[in-house]
């Protein structure tokens, strides 16, 4: 796959003529049709029939306005289909150099970038005949670690991939979402951009007289330099205008903390590769934060033992108020409440001599002194090679203390560096939002322009922003969906999807990336740039020109001699703009920091000290709710709970016992700001001081996928208690719900599914660690039949369970690459989820403080495959290269193979799960053309991405050479930030996978069955502090 990209270098302008021919007769067809024409058009009728069954009969006589609206949607979806070959008119530059035109069936890769979690993520998007179908990471981007980074130079010559996360993987599905907003809407009626602009101009002319005193712009955190530039221009034009930024999941605490420590809102960034000891104060740094992927990689690299880096393993102490993926892989984990975190941090700081702090916290409630001593000891031992991180949910004081500790430990400059924030105005989101709301209440606001965001849904509860909105005479909402906020606004403007947009963004080190579209807007969406340009009086501005213009000016300012065209081309090609990186800033702590902290502390002591606190966490799948209409993410099993299509209250076994709760019981939680009813999921290891709920659910206008999934938590979330709130009452309602979980049983039942040991044990006997031989039966027995010779390529995979931290990126990547269908909550609750790759998680030890293990499970491609033998029609057979292959069109669906698969990795199409895909014109653009879409009644499973293997084989055979190690990268492997998955040729002694297969930590899951799996696992090695062994002892027995 990589190499092919290299061969068919992309070309600026895709050959439209050819593409049109291949995509049907009509190019851009008129978007607008009269109702009669529309109703007469058989295609529209067919589409309408599928989309709005109830509509059919009523279609004949004059339909209501709503139906008219929906029908318009239908026609536009249709236009979307014809839009499939519509390339952007502007020049876009592919990632690799190009042939004369596209070769059908050969993908091109374009670099772009997505902004999520406060910074950009560099992407390479695979385009098949002008259709973006798959997302990979862009290794040239500073926030993206390269996959197979250790591969030899021969491989480096071919196309390289970088890691991604679940959100990035899922954006291609959102692009083709038929529920996306498709037209300008004014007061609930279809309207046009032109008439919007006319009204906007009138409105602005009124405002100009007052210097725009009534004009407000509300945006999400803006990182795009061009947009910042535009908005600043707008503010110059209207001096009275104000610009507000709001994100429900924000860094307010971190910013405040930095101000507290340095008097400046600077942001830390970490170099975990250098860190021997990591103390995380409720920071889920492996899956959250602007640097998550590189941090995850750096951390994982230090967790991989065996071979070269035997003793170089780091040690992670986690103090957390909930259950996080980072905590799950920690060597020592302290599950506590929010107050204990503060106290703990103080105690540590005191131990390192923070003045006058000691007096305040002689002893720490809920934390054993030995724990503190051990952590202090370890940190002291590794001065300059340790790091202390604070999570976004922790109050400013904890962040400040973390800064202070890093300073005290001499980590600044080695493991910790500081940078100026990349977000346009490092302001406190909640304050900005409150200010705006007050403005509206006071009637100062006459015009409110909202660039994205969904404040009516996710603004702090006490502001009642949704209601307040009605008070603004002229409101405009630019959004991808007609969502809760759009419904409250006079004007709704459809926003272009990321993959349809020209824009730019920055990484944490402020390296800029140009966002280039892969496809012209399917539904004629607008970008923020175009809307702001309209505000500035230019309704026809193209965002391409705006972005290019900004960077051209930037280029001139630098006064460099070389031509901008070249710079621009390279920037688009590489996905990063050279020379935009900012150097770290050096700041010293405020001299009066101690007193400042003490003062903070008083504030905290005033907080109500509830027995049980509720923690509002960003959802690992739908984030703040913006991904609610993305089926892949909705169906993605949430970590620990393995829950899909719902949010729930995660409680500790202790809490569950206290209220006699079982998973599925619905409880009512009452806090000062309100109450909520949610089902419970009991999660071993969850702190007993808190219960966790995830925000982002209970959407009412998300789309057909996301509507009324779960319960909306925002009404409980106020700006002074955004993350934690004391629970007044938690009551069992007596009703039960059937939770759509993909894993119901999390105990090992005394089976040797996971080999695990400590670093000490490994170092004692690196060649043969004693924890590896658990059971003599696990060596494959002799077979009656003669053994088989395996020659040539022999594919295999090794899963490093020490590195995997269960971020789920691989699961979505697999779903995207292999056209794995979404089955919905009901089917999941019936045990019919279709994921080819799943991450099992197991608990071992006491329910209160168990060891947690992630075990990625995919088809093992057994050499002695039990599934193949029982198939009556030879629909599943073995290839010469050791692949266990499914022949879909031979399968009659006896499901015997699934019964006989001890790993239960086979998935069956109980219904026609792809019906909608086949019927919906827009969604038909999505699937990966290299992979069959499976029909009803056939079995399916992981193929090791055989399409990628074959692609590489064809390429290399044409070049008359063998496939280099790392030239084939499976979808899951490409996505994995930890490089926990390694794929390759087991017959090639030097290949990475062959090396790992030889490792003394390598074992076959259920090897005793003599299935001879090709996918093997590496034992989980952890690095507990001997001084604290007793805790890990009691948790591993």
């Amino acid at each position: 796959m990589g190499a092919c990209g290299q061969n068919h270098l992309g070309y600026p302008q895709l050959d439209i003529v050819e593409a049109e021919q291949s995509c049907g007769p009509s190019g851009n067809s008129p978007m607008w049709r009269s109702l009669d024409e529309l109703a007469g058009d058989p295609r529209v009728m067919a589409l309408a029939r599928r989309e709005f069954p109830s509509l059919l009969d009523r279609l004949v006589d004059a339909p209501s306005r709503r139906e008219f609206l929906r029908l318009m949607g239908a026609s536009l979806a249709l236009a979307g289909l014809e839009g499939c070959i519509r390339q952007p008119e502007e020049k876009i530059v592919p990632y690799v150099r190009a042939p004369e035109q596209i070769i059908p069936g050969k993908p091109l890769y374009y670099a772009t970038a997505m902004t999520h979690g406060g910074a950009s993520l560099g992407l390479l998007v695979e385009s098949q005949m002008g259709r973006p179908v798959k997302v990979e990471g862009n290794p040239l981007h500073p926030a993206v670690p390269e996959v197979m980074s250790k591969a030899n130079d021969a491989t480096k010559s071919s196309l390289r991939f970088g890691a991604t996360d679940a959100f990035a993987q899922a954006i291609v599905l959102s692009l083709y979402d038929p529920d996306r907003s498709q037209t300008v809407i004014h007061a609930g009626q279809i309207d046009t951009w032109e008439s919007f602009y006319t009204q906007l101009r009138e409105r602005l002319e009124k405002d100009t007289t007052t210097g725009g005193a009534g004009l407000r712009v509300l945006s999400e955190a803006v990182i795009s330099p061009t947009l910042v530039d535009q908005i600043e221009a707008l503010l110059k034009r209207f001096p009275g205008a104000k610009w507000h930024q709001y994100e429900p999941i924000n860094e307010d605490a971190a910013i405040a903390g930095a101000r507290l420590a340095f008097g400046a809102s600077i942001v830390p960034s970490y170099d975990l590769a250098q860190a021997d000891v990591i103390l995380s104060l409720d920071a889920d740094f492996l899956v959250d934060g602007p640097q998550r992927l590189v941090d995850g990689r750096a951390f994982a690299e230090r967790r991989k033992v065996g071979g070269a880096n035997a003793g170089s393993m780091n040690r992670l102490y986690m103090v957390e108020t909930g259950r996080t993926q980072t905590g799950a892989v920690a060597d020592h984990r302290l599950a506590v409440g929010p107050r204990e975190v503060i106290q703990f941090t103080w105690a540590i700081a005191a131990a390192f001599g923070l003045q006058s702090a000691k007096s305040r916290f002689s002893e720490v409630i809920g934390v054993s002194q030995s724990w503190i001593d051990v952590v202090v000891g370890d940190l002291r031992k590794s001065r300059g090679r340790s790091v202390v991180l604070a999570g976004r949910m922790q109050p400013p004081v904890v962040h400040a203390l973390a800064h202070w500790l890093n300073q005290a430990l001499g980590n600044i400059g080695t493991t910790v560096t500081y940078r100026d924030p990349i977000v346009a105005r490092a302001e406190l989101n909640s304050e900005s939002m409150r200010e705006l709301t007050e403005g509206v209440r006071a009637g100062e606001v006459s015009t409110l322009i909202m660039l994205g965001g969904n404040p009516a849904y996710n603004a702090p509860a006490e502001l009642k922003f949704g209601e307040v909105l009605a008070g603004v005479p002229f409101t405009v909402h630019l959004s991808e969906y007609v969502d809760e906020t759009s419904a409250q606004c006079g004007w709704h403007i459809p926003a272009a999807h990321l993959l349809e947009s020209w824009s730019d963004t920055r990484a944490a080190d402020s390296t800029a990336s140009i966002v280039q579209p892969l496809i012209a807007p399917l539904y004629g969406g607008k970008t923020s740039h175009e809307l702001v340009a309209a505000l500035l009086g230019d309704p026809d501005a193209k965002s391409h020109d705006l972005v290019r213009g900004y960077w051209e000016r930037w280029h001139q300012r630098r006064g460099a001699s070389d031509s901008f065209d070249a710079i621009w081309r390279t920037a688009l090609h590489d996905g990063v703009v050279a020379g935009t990186q900012m150097p770290p800033v050096i700041r010293t702590l405020r001299p009066d920091i101690a007193n400042a902290l003490e003062h903070e502390l008083d504030a905290i002591n005033e907080l109500p000290n509830a027995e049980l606190q509720i923690a509002f966490r960003p959802d690992p799948s739908v984030w703040d709710g913006r991904f609610a209409n993305n089926g892949w993410l909705q169906e993605l099993p949430r970590p620990f709970s393995k829950l899909t299509w719902n949010n729930a209250v995660l409680v500790s076994p202790a809490t569950a016992a206290e209220h006699s709760l079982k998973s599925g019981d619905v409880v009512e939680i009452v806090i000062s700001s309100g109450s909520v009813k949610l089902p419970v999921v009991v999660v071993p290891g969850h702190p007993r001081q808190t219960v966790t709920v995830h925000i982002g659910y209970g959407r009412t206008a998300a789309g057909r996928i996301g509507n009324s999934v779960g319960v909306n938590i925002y009404p409980l979330r106020t700006s002074d208690a955004p993350w934690f709130a004391g629970i007044d009452r938690l009551k069992k309602t007596g009703t039960r719900v059937n939770l759509a979980t993909t894993q119901h049983h999390h105990l090992l039942e005394g089976r040797n599914l996971i080999r695990t040991g400590t670093l000490a044990e490994f170092v004692a006997a690196p060649q043969h660690p004693k924890f590896m031989d658990v059971d003599e039966d696990t060596n494959p027995q002799e077979s009656l039949y003669p053994q088989r010779e395996w020659a040539g390529y022999q594919w295999g995979m090794v899963v490093n369970q020490s590195a995997c931290f269960g971020c789920n990126a691989c699961v979505v990547a697999c779903q995207a690459e292999n056209n794995v269908p979404i089955v919905g909550a009901d089917q999941v609750s019936r045990g019919r989820e279709m994921h080819w790759l799943r991450i099992d998680n197991y608990y071992d030890g006491s329910p209160d403080d168990p060891e947690t293990y992630h075990q990625p499970m995919l088809c093992m491609h057994c050499e002695m495959a039990p599934c193949e033998v029982v198939c009556p029609v030879a629909a599943t057979t073995h290839s010469d290269e050791g692949l266990n292959e499914m022949t879909y069109n031979r399968c009659v669906g006896t499901r015997y193979c699934s019964n006989n698969c001890p790993y239960k990795v086979r998935r069956f199409n109980f219904f026609d799960y792809n019906a909608e895909l086949r019927e919906n014109a827009t969604m038909q653009l999505r699937p990966n053309p290299d992979v069959t879409v499976r029909s009803r009644g056939v079995m399916e499973k992981c193929t090791y991405c055989v399409q990628r293997i074959n692609e590489a084989r064809i390429t290399t055979e044409k070049q008359d050479r063998t496939i280099h190690d790392g030239e084939i990268v499976t979808a899951c492997q490409a996505a994995c930030p930890a490089e926990a998955l390694t794929f390759g040729n087991l017959n090639e002694a030097t290949s990475a996978v062959a090396q790992l297969a030889k490792s003394s930590l390598n074992y076959s899951v259920l090897g005793e069955l003599n299935t001879r799996p090709r996918t093997t696992h590496l034992a989980v090695v952890r690095n507990p502090n001997p001084a604290l062994r007793h805790t890990s002892d009691e948790s591993t027995t």
Binding site: D840, P872, Y896, N900, K904
Partner: protein, 457 residues
Amino acid sequence: MNPQPNSTNLEHHERLVAPGHTFASVTDKIASIVLARQLKYGWVIGFALSFGLTMLLLFATAWLFVKGVGVWGIDVPVAWGFAIVNFVWWVGIGHAGTLISAILLLLHQEWRTSINRFAEAMTLFAVACAGMFPLLHLGRPQYFYWLVPYPSTMGVWPQFRSPLIWDFFAVSTYATVSLLFWYVGLIPDLATLRDRTKRRVPQIVYGILAMGWRGSARHWRRYQDAYLLLAALATPLVVSVHSVVSFDFAVAIVPGWHSTVFPPYFVAGAIYSGFAMVLTIAIPLRAAYGLKDFITDRHLDNMAKVMLASGLIVAYGYLTETFTAWYSGQQPDLYVVENRAMGPYAFWYWLLLTCNIAVPQFLWSARVRRNTYALFALALVINLGMWLERFIIVVVSLHRDFLPSSWGMYTPTFWDWSTLFGSIGLFVALMFLFIRLLPVISIFEMREMVEHSEHEQ
């Protein structure tokens, strides 16, 4: 038409046919059931009910084909549900017929005579019901014929290492041989009906089916040889068929399936349920048509004894399963035992043991064996028990296998149930038709019995 008083006093209990019967009387008595012009009221009711259930089966099947097997409760890990349970259950029931005809014939068990005919019919219908399920349970039933080895344009063939292929051959062979066996047995009686009936149409139909049988001495000789050889062939076949069915499980690696004791104890179970079903049919039948002279209490007694014996073998099978699980020392195998006894389906497991092991112990008492009501009740209990056994084997083994992460549950849906009861309806409806259209007892063999009993005196 009914010259004989019912013989109920004890001395006749040991007889296989009541005294005083002549060739003519047995012939007329049995033939009359078929040749009687008017329909019995009870027959109409019974047929209507069972036919209604058959319609339910058709409805459920139609819905299944429209929507897909997802309408059932199956999932991953429990990919096989009621369909396979019912299949094994029906195949098991289908064993008594051929067994009674073949093995008892070879063993010169004369008492088989008056029950073998409808036992064989029962076999055919049970196998028909059974054969339906492997088809229905396919994800793509329209391609069932891919299991047949035929030269396809794709040049692909079935995969003969799969127990499902063995199944396919075993069951179809069994169906064919049972049909032949049944038909050969019918030929002389069809001739009798041909000559008894006064109406034209039946004469023609029975005439064609009788193939011109005249009862010539040479024919009888070849006929008897062929029938005996057929019996000799059918006997190992009966054993092989349920052994092969048990391979579906024994050959797989699923804990709770992967066990060498399966073939023998499946066969025993088959006989067990088969005889239970024969009793379930025989008792009402002889009451309804006054056949107590031919299906005497001694018949019931003997069948009860066979049930008891096969029941004990089944019990031994359960014991061995548990023992080998313990002996293997493999955690998954041990867990199967634990899970059956204490898991979420424990109730059904204990109910199974009650039905198949505890209750049948009453059969030790002659009084129970001679009490038709008790016997009938017992037969029903055992039918239920044997169905539960298959449910426990199929579902409870699958729902918790090797990886705790993929453990699941199985909950039957309305469509599962309607397919089960629908198949029962089909079976009963076919039985009703058979009773009306063909002699339920082998007439010529009854004549032989009469002759022998005359010799005895």
